[in-house]
């Protein structure tokens, strides 16, 4: 797990605040002892109240600042996620990141305070009364020791029950998610009783674990309160004997519980913090996009492409297997074959998005891996299978990455102008407002217009550009593509015969291998 940015500084700030808090608690005890022995409100007390309030504020404000910047950092990181599950990332970037708060602003500060304050209290007690100091010093370590012992016992038990607990706990989610399936088979209404009995079994199993888990806080409370009794009663006897004055006695009584209070506070926040830490770990564990860097540039214009025994496998599943293919500069190749045969993977390899597992791609005789990605991509006009629409106007979607592009010509060529004519704000219509309202074919044409606007590209990569188009639109798109092709290299993934007719050669892929090659 990568380190949290700014954690070190935050811990330093927290330590300073904790030391100051410890000081304020000592002063406050002095003030209270004076007040309660009838000495009235002293300057000590006024100063203590002012500083405790100020420190509480400082803790809150600084903790909040740190948490906000950590959340910001996590969000930035998540935005670079290389996950392919956009919905999951969208949830993580909002609610997932919020969940870290219980750890960052709740648990961490109280943990630091629970180190500083007990130490200060014990030191003060040693200078006041040896017996009481020894009682507190002896009992305080019992808390973490027992917490660890009980924690181990609880986690051993939880582990034994883990399978049962997750299964029972997840049952509701499982059944609710499978509601559609249950309905299809007419079993939906019978499950309510099962949901109830599973929840009952879950409650029983959880209670069994909690009976052990809560023992740690039982020990904590017992140690804290018993030591107050252990301190107070002997002092009482000494007061009776005249060996101690009332103010000192009260000072000890007020101080002793302060040694245990921070540990109790940290313990109380522990469970919520565990969830926060999990959320934090999840956000930090998300794999991020790594950017390929290479420096070589090439002259622009139609490239020649050679694939030499290129294989690609995703998670051990073979997508392309030993593909040899040569596309001379200016030639046009159509890729055909059933879905899943590796056509889109081949385009991704040519774009440089998917590195070959073995073999290599030569561009004008140079290995693609050594070419600067930015320069290479700037020379490609690519239409993916399902173009993504981005926030912003229709115009900015067509001119993606090309601010000065001639969008009207591109839109006309992609047969998009008739769609635009029907929009109230024309090209300035925000896509966000119609995104979902556009048909798949219209989205496809926006993607096509985006590629057609790149009039200087030397390589054209089209992934089934006419899928989802009706016959008239298809004809329009085909003629635009035909006008685009001369003097450029092109690889066209084609489903329909009309698209195939644009190519000089047809290559058939089946299960990741080149089957046949036919001259068109």
């Amino acid at each position: 797990m990568p380190a949290l940015p700014g954690l070190r500084r935050y811990l330093a700030v927290l330590s300073v605040l904790a030391v100051l808090t410890a000081g304020a608690i000592l002063i406050q005890a002095e003030g209270l002892a004076t007040l309660l022995t009838g000495g009235g409100v002293s300057w000590f007390l006024a100063a203590a109240i002012a500083s405790r309030v100020a420190l509480s504020l400082a803790h809150g404000v600084l903790g909040g600042r740190f948490a906000a910047s950590v959340r910001g950092g996590l969000r930035r990181r998540l935005l670079e996620s290389s996950s392919d599950r956009a919905g999951v990332v969208a949830t993580q970037v909002t609610r997932g990141v919020d969940a870290t708060d219980s750890y960052l602003t709740g648990y961490l500060p109280s943990l630091v305070v629970s180190v500083a304050v007990p130490v200060a209290v014990i030191v003060r007690l040693f200078t006041t009364d040896l017996t009481s100091a020894l009682v507190v010093t002896a009992t305080l370590p019992l808390i973490p020791v027992f917490a660890i012992l009980v924690g181990k016992a609880a986690s051993a038990q939880a582990e034994r029950q883990w399978g049962l607990l997750t299964k029972l706990g997840g049952h509701f989610l499982d059944v609710v998610r499978g509601l559609g399936t249950l309905k299809v088979f007419g079993r939906a209404s019978g499950q309510a009783e099962v949901v109830r009995s599973m929840a009952r079994a879950h409650a029983d199993a959880t209670m069994k674990t909690l009976r052990v888990a809560f023992l740690s806080s039982l020990v904590l409370e017992l140690v804290a309160t018993l030591s107050v009794a252990l301190v107070a009663v002997p002092i009482g006897f000494r007061l009776l004997g005249g060996g101690l004055d009332a103010r000192t006695a009260l000072l000890i009584l007020v101080l002793a519980p302060e040694a245990y209070l921070p540990l109790r506070a940290a313990g109380a926040k522990f469970h919520a913090a565990a969830e926060g830490l999990t959320a934090l770990r999840e956000a930090l564990a998300v794999p991020v996009v790594s950017v390929r860097t290479a420096a070589r540039t090439r002259r622009r214009g139609a490239p020649s492409l050679v694939l030499e025994r290129v294989s690609v496998s995703y998670d051990g599943v073979c997508a392309l297997s030993e593909v040899d293919l040569s596309v001379p500069a200016g030639s046009h190749v159509a890729l055909v074959g059933p879905s899943g045969s590796g056509k889109s993977t081949l385009l991704a390899v040519l774009l440089g998005f998917v590195p070959p597992t073995s073999g290599r791609v030569l561009v004008d005789g140079v290995d693609l891996r050594s070419l600067s990605p930015d320069g290479w991509l700037a020379d490609i006009a690519w239409v993916p299978q399902r173009p993504t629409l981005f926030r912003g106007s229709l115009a900015s979607n067509i001119a993606l990455g090309l601010p000065g592009a001639d969008i009207v010509t591109a839109a006309r060529a992609a047969a998009l102008d008739s769609v635009v004519a029907g929009l109230p704000a024309g090209y300035s219509t925000p896509v966000g407002e119609l995104g979902e309202g556009l048909s798949a074919g219209q989205r496809q044409r926006i993607g096509l217009a985006r590629a057609l606007a790149r009039t200087s590209a030397g390589l054209i990569l089209l992934d089934e550009p006419t899928a989802r188009l009706d016959a008239r639109t298809e004809a329009a798109v085909l003629s635009a593509t035909r006008r685009l092709l001369p003097d450029r290299t092109a690889v066209l993934v084609a489903h329909r015969p009309a698209m195939v007719s644009l190519a000089d050669r047809v290559v058939e892929l089946r299960e990741g291998r080149i089957r046949t090659e036919v001259a068109a």
């Binding site: 309660l36 009838g38 109240i49 405790r52 309030v53 809150g60 404000v61 903790g63 909040g64 600042r65 910001g72 930035r76 998540l78 935005l79 290389s82 909002t94 709740g106 049952h171 609710v176 998610r177 509601l179 559609g180 399936t181 007419g186 079993r187 209404s189 019978g190 499950q191 309510a192 109830r196 009995s197 879950h202 009976r211 023992l215 039982l218 017992l222 309160t225 107050v228 009794a229 107070a232 009482g236 009776l240 004055d245 009332a246 006695a249 009260l250 059933p338 998005f353 991509l377 690519w382 173009p387 993504t388 981005f390 926030r391 993606l400 990455g401 090309l402 798949a440 074919g441 989802r468």
Partner: protein
């Protein structure tokens, strides 16, 4: 693990089950004294809180209050003991206090342990009943089937656990402790008691209320920014390659980063405000303690006891200020769950026969989107085999959902023997199959199969598995949503379930997608050979549809004319 053998109820008596389950539900509080139950009663009924739950909750609250009062009394008694001892009375005057200090010290830990167990117990039991109620509310309706919405709802139900444990119960305990502390203080001095009341109400009522307001307002203000951030995240993830190809990834990211920074800025402001309110709580605590000490007008030991008791009482009250930050969130969860619980259950009464399905100009439009299906006609007499082709997103799955009755057309009609599907009580006896988003339950293969046909013998199940090419043991655990199976195995299990159900009308949504093509073709052929009745098969491979009576090609939710789709000859 014996109780897991009934992980899924596969009882046949589905419709009667619904009625009996409803009457068997968590006995709600009965208000039988003839007048309207009022807001509290209504709330208790909405949330299915039984009398037993209320009693258990009260017990937990009293145990908690007992624990906190023990702590408070411990400090007060100890202070009294010390200051009285300083006056050198005879030892006999102190014995009671000494015994009390020791007893209270033990009492506090024990009571607190008992309270935590009692609190969790009541919440877990109630949550179980609530889950069953929410499930019952979801079961008949079709609005909440599948997807993130449902996952969200499940976490909403679980969030209510926090509402009780971290808010309701501590608030109740604080109220009891505060009342007791005020009552004891009042015996010494009315003025000190008044100061304590004012302090406790400020710290336990007014400040938390302000925190709720601040966070609720911030939540409202943040909502659009957060939605925008989520949209950016989706764009950057789904459109990542296109942005790289266009060379604008960095530009898009920095736009998103600006939103992140904006959010961080306003989050800082909110946390500063809540920090101020928390600091105000500390101020109120210390000032009230001083006020009680100055106003108590009693002997020195007694005054010290009251002042320390007041200070300790605040230790129970102050955490409410922090806890209040989560109130708006919990309130939103509660509102969503309540909306589900309030939804009236609608169900038809007609009993279906194995009949004639028909789509007449069926259109399905979700608000704000292009129609998922537009003006589609389909005639499906018994025994007919129809194939549905088309690119993804063309409306193929939507068409199946209309047939299955899980979606209702917004225009046009879907009928069975001339009656709209909504009029039937249970279509599963007539039509079922393998949906594209079918769920595999976290249990065994056998239980997953039994949903399709309760009471099926092992031999029947094995036969169905063989037809579908599924070759794992019936006792094999499937993992959450079939995670313990490979994608192909999962697919074939879903198919085996459809084969076992053997309904008069079998729908299959890309049933061999993701299988090795040759193997998939063989599996599909076996399944189609076994199917006796009507078949509706969605596929993207036309060769699967040889011998089908009709092929319907969809694009953008519309049926392409038969000529354009290349109509295939029917079976002889």
């Amino acid at each position: 693990m014996s109780r897991l053998s009934s992980f899924l109820s596969t009882g046949q008596q589905s419709s009667t089950d619904r009625r009996t389950a409803a009457s068997r539900g968590p006995a709600p509080v009965r208000w039988n004294w003839g007048r309207p139950p009022g807001r509290v009663g209504a709330a208790l009924r909405t949330w299915g809180v039984s009398t037993k739950d209320v009693l258990r909750l009260l017990r937990a609250a009293f145990l908690g209050a007992g624990a906190e009062l023990a702590a408070l009394a411990l400090m007060a008694t100890a202070a009294w003991l010390l200051l009285r001892a300083a006056e050198r009375p005879p030892l006999a005057a102190l014995t009671v206090a000494i015994v009390a200090v020791r007893t209270l010290a033990l009492l506090r830990g024990g009571l607190r342990y008992a309270e935590r167990l009692a609190g969790h117990e009541v919440v877990l039991r109630w949550l179980g009943a609530l889950r069953a109620r929410v499930y019952q509310a979801l079961a008949p309706g079709s609005r909440y089937s599948g997807g993130d919405l449902v996952t969200r709802l499940v976490s909403d139900v679980d969030a209510l656990q926090d509402a009780v444990l971290r808010w309701l119960l501590p608030a109740g305990v604080a109220a009891l402790v505060g009342t007791a502390a005020v009552a004891v203080t009042a015996t010494a001095s009315a003025a000190a008691a008044a100061a304590l009341v004012a302090g406790l109400l400020t710290a336990g009522g007014f400040l938390p209320w302000l925190v709720v307001r601040v966070t609720a307002n911030a939540g409202k203000a943040h909502a659009p920014k957060r939605a925008e951030l989520a949209e950016h995240a989706v764009e950057l993830v789904t459109g990542q390659r296109e942005l790289v190809a266009a060379g604008v990834l960095e530009e898009k990211r920095s736009t998103a980063h600006a939103v992140v920074d904006e959010l961080a800025g306003s989050e800082r402001t909110v946390s500063a405000k809540t920090a101020l309110l928390a600091a105000a709580g500390t101020l109120v605590q210390l000032l009230t303690t001083v006020a009680v000490a100055l106003l108590a007008d009693a002997s020195v030991p007694w005054t010290a006891a009251l002042a320390l008791a007041a200070m300790t009482a605040f230790e129970v009250v102050l955490p409410l200020i922090g806890a209040a930050r989560r109130v708006p969130e919990i309130r939103a969860s509660a509102a969503r769950v309540r909306a589900v619980l309030a939804e009236p259950a609608a169900s038809g009464t007609r009993t279906p026969g194995p009949g004639h399905f028909r789509l007449a100009a069926a259109t399905l439009r979700h608000p704000g989107r292009a129609p998922a299906l537009k003006n589609v006609d389909l005639d499906l007499p018994p025994g007919k085999r129809v194939g549905i082709l088309g690119p993804s997103g063309a409306g193929k799955t939507t068409l199946l959902r209309l047939l299955l009755g899980t979606e209702i057309p917004t225009e046009g009609q879907v009928t069975l023997d001339g009656h709209p599907l909504a009029e039937y009580e249970d279509l599963s006896k007539v039509i079922s199959g393998a949906e594209a988003d079918a769920h595999v339950f976290h249990t065994t293969v056998r239980e997953n199969l039994l949903i399709a046909k309760p009471g099926a013998t092992d031999a029947e199940m094995r036969e169905a598995c063989e037809t579908a090419g599924f070759d794992l043991a019936l006792d094999r655990e499937t993992g959450p949503d079939g995670d313990a199976l490979s994608g192909g195995q999962r697919q074939r299990l879903i198919l085996a379930r459809a084969v076992l159900a053997a309904p008069p009308v079998l729908v299959l949504d890309e049933p061999v997608e993701g299988l090795d093509p040759a193997h998939g073709d063989a599996v599909l052929k076996r399944v189609l050979d076994t199917a006796k009745g009507t078949v509706v098969l969605v596929t993207h491979r036309p060769e699967h549809l040889d011998g089908f009576d009709e092929v319907l090609t969809l694009e953008d939710g519309r049926a392409l004319p038969a000529s354009a789709a290349g109509r295939r000859p029917g079976r002889p």
